[in-house]
Subunit: 384 residues, 2 copies
């Protein structure tokens, strides 16, 4: 037998998928049950009620078998008709996805895009809405994980709610990890996914709509079938989905929601906030410039010299089994991103920072070993 | 603590989801890995190569995060433009889904629908193609599990291949369980899903297209984004999917394909054929009339008196933990359906038949206890 050169233990610090608690993961391995039974209906009901709590909404939350992008498309094809006018306020790769979906469906869009790393300006949305009274909807992003910033959804919600337009927010990466209040913030449509704050495997996407949004559904003429939200609403009553749901993932989601409720959503928000503070302290201690105008609490980005950006990510993974993310699009090679949401704890963050130190040393960057870890510990200890 | 009245052990004999082998299910519970890594790329490559073998095609097979219906929609929106003419040859609930998708997307369709229980007539397709030379595609179903029949795809493939139209087949329930040869049978587009013959949890859908179909993709103008097949083709080269894939399901699929290859696809076809024969013998022994003009080999349907149709399914599940399926649509209450595909073995079938006997007795139907089991055993023993 060939000798194995080394044993690699893996640590996942990427902004999706995030690590899955073992008690949640094991649920995926249980014998599968049929989805049109009382047994499944009970689980389904627990899950959607739990989702409502997490979304902080009184409205129904629907479960789709799709990646998060499927829920984004659902939030486009069910609300609009060909030629309708929308505003897309983007500050990164995921915000730009709204533009691409809108293009794919022949919509007119006013693009209020800021430089990646900046945040969306609520005042720009206000101005655009005033200048374009026919706009049906404003599409934007909560936490933009491609850059690591968070947009001021509360203020945007206040602005949009005073108009006839609705506000649609991609909260795929931010929900659970950072304070988000659908109803209180007057967000009309929110989409999310299973593989970020919900600390579950990817494969489920979620969407909720309020009455103002349902009014638009009535007149929407864009073609659709699989993502036709009316089908999901109809099945919801009998605790079903219109098409076979990913049963094992739904069963595991029940466990992950239990996990969230046990700790308490507000506490989880605080946990992530603390980890974000520690991550920023650690990066700063290594003289890495933090990236992003308003850093979010689920992922921390820092600028790195372009020559070593890609190498850091590769070496962390290959030498130490630590998966972090690099930059996307124009930011490729220019930033590194550490996630600290879901089932990522204090010690995981310290692992990431320590291995980052080693990799930087190996790349010939002059740093003081242990400094990032020390700075992060300082934050973590103080707040304890 | 409250005393539990009874312990229910569950047996899944439904045509999707089907039972998952424990070695496959456990893979779902492994620590999740990131989907843009070499580790995942290796698994992904194994999976798509395995899928090609199972589909019996030399063309690429793409993996979607969706229910099977998502792959069906993919096979519509990527091939056609608004107002295009298609033929839908349906013989049941799943065939009719092609009609509904076509309606949703504003296509003109010639519907060659036969009574549920009958099979699609290849000669009717031939005639319709002759009378409608502008038809771009023929949509039909391989095994129609809502009724339990199988269509003669080989003959239909021969007919359609002589025209400019392409043939699109829903093989969601039949693939793996019953002989199907994409390339040899000249099927241009095939869709399938993970929760039937692949004996995996639902959540993954598959689609393959040949060159003739790719020609149609070039001119297709129906709007799409999430299901845009060009995106999947592009990502395929780097062993990726355009959007975050259901990682744990893909990892488990690698194991399920290993499982299929260990037994051998042809052997699995024969196993299902034998189980189907035994199921038919068992039902007939109870004086239940078999349903369906040409019974398929993945599910067996029998007519039951309308007064007890629903009760049989309910009692089997509630009293004995045995899940089978009833009729859908107009067949509700009129038929019962036993699946025998995927990880359903001889003993599982006997459990189903034995419990069916008990339920029939309890419902006051005059039957000879043990007769269905005996008839099935007779078949199973002879072929051993």
């Amino acid at each position: 037998m060939e000798e194995i050169k080394k044993v690699t233990k893996y640590y996942l610090l990427t902004p999706g998928p995030t690590p899955i608690p073992p008690e949640v993961a094991l649920k995926e391995a249980l014998p599968i049950i049929h989805h049109r039974t009382n047994e499944f209906a009970v689980i389904y009901r627990n899950v959607v009620e739990g989702l409502k709590d997490v979304f902080r909404t009184k409205n129904e939350v629907y479960i789709l078998a799709a990646s998060g992008t499927g829920a984004m498309e659902t939030a486009v094809v069910n609300l609009l008709s060909h030629g309708d006018e929308i505003i897309v306020a983007s500050c990164g790769n995921f915000g730009d996805r709204w533009l691409k979906i809108a293009q794919g469906y022949g919509l007119k869009f006013i693009s209020i895009c800021v430089e990646w790393g900046k945040v969306v300006k609520p005042s720009e949305i206000e101005k655009a809405l005033k200048n374009n009274p026919n706009v049906k909807a404003v599409y934007t992003t909560f936490t933009e994980t491609s850059t690591g910033v968070v947009n001021d959804i509360k203020t945007i919600g206040e602005i949009v709610s005073k108009t006839d337009a609705i506000l649609v927010v991609d909260a795929i990466s931010g929900l659970v990890g950072q304070e988000f209040k659908t109803d209180e913030w007057k967000v009309d449509v929110v989409v999310s996914g299973s593989q970020k704050g919900f600390m579950l495997a990817p494969g489920l996407a979620f969407i909720t709509l309020n009455d103002k949004a349902w009014e638009l559904v009535k007149t929407s003429k864009l073609p659709k079938f699989y993502f036709d939200i009316k089908k999901y609403k109809k099945s919801y009553i009998t605790n079903e989905t219109p098409f076979t749901p990913p049963v094992t993932l739904v069963v595991a989601l029940e466990e992950s929601i239990k996990f969230i409720n046990k700790r308490g959503l507000e506490n989880i928000w605080n946990d992530c906030k603390l980890l974000a503070k520690a991550a920023r302290a650690g990066m700063t201690a290594l003289d890495l410039k933090l990236f992003g105008e308003v850093p979010c609490e689920v992922v921390t980005s820092a600028s790195v010299p372009i020559e070593i950006g890609g190498k850091i990510v590769k070496m962390l993974r290959e030498k130490y089994g630590v998966s972090i993310a690099g930059g996307q699009g124009d930011l490729k090679g220019k930033i590194i991103r550490f996630a600290h949401m879901g089932y990522i704890g204090k010690a995981d963050l310290l692992i990431g920072l320590a291995c980052l130190e080693m990799v930087l040393v190996e790349l010939g960057i002059k740093i003081e070993k242990g400094k990032a870890v020390a700075a992060a510990e300082e934050v973590l200890l103080k707040t304890e």
